[in-house]
Amino acid sequence: MQMRKPLAELAREPAFSDNVLATIRLLARATDEAQAVDVLAAACEHMGTDAAAFVSFVRDDPSHESFRFLLACDPVWCLEYERRAWYTDDPWLQYSLNHTEPARGEDILPGTAQQRAVVELAAQFDFMSALIVPAPSSGALTRMGVLCLGSSVPAFFNDDGYLALKVLARSLAMELHEWWIARIKNELIASARLTDEDLTLLMHERLGHSTKFIASKLDMSPNSINSRFQRMNAKLGVPNRKSAAQLAAEYGVI
């Protein structure tokens, strides 16, 4: 049986960082999720890890809560995770909501039995040891990303190679996060067929302007403004105009 190289040994290899960075750069040319998964899988392999998952999600706003996973790991793990609706009780996601620094899975102590179960499930799918890398958004935006790297080797991330890997993993997480936002933005504009007028309305809403104020600015009747918002809410699949503006902001449309 072939012995697995420890992370420190991998990180000392001359091409370690170059290979990972060259792979991350390919993300700029990825035009769809299949190519992004391919990049994630290749980066995972160059880093010496066994599994990788990147999740992009919106926190705090239940009106458009969504979790988007790119899976370069056994996808059965994600089915189990979803079946138990564990994303709200995931200690690694919870950590990422409040921190920007990467952390090893073992350093994030599960606070509840359910959180322990989340970690135990992950361990069955090549996340025996894990590195959690938050990719936060700036300002008031609540969309964020989390990269989870996994190894079937216990304590894989605990040796001297950790610092080198942490830098690379952070770079990968931020690039994936930016890629996702750009992808979703383009998808949103194209599929919801948002017009310039829609964007103007959304910006007014984002600034907290009333219907009466917007109507006077755009020289339209308040009823007309309300109707336009209702149509736009339907196109975006959100229940109200506040959610529409938040969604547009999250995806960089306004």
Partner: protein, 101 residues
Amino acid sequence: MSTTFAAWALAHRPDALTLRSTDGVLAFTVRWAACGLFVERVLQRPKAARVVQATVFDTPPSFQRWCDADPARFEYPLLYSKLRRDAAELFAGHADAQAAG
């Protein structure tokens, strides 16, 4: 607060097969990619988060195993039957293309 299913979450792709359950809760986008069979699974349950999973399968058994593990196959057997058929055709088409050189 309920969440409606946003049409833009499943943008139409001319190169992909899109399968949806009749109630709009579950949808798949399937297509052949350079690295294998790409599958995007979108689940939108009422009053719950939308969960989108995107992954690539390089062999038919790995895809079958994933289908067999999905609890939604009991709720949407016809959808799963179609998904398996379409995926098998894509794998077979790729194998034929490879054999033809």
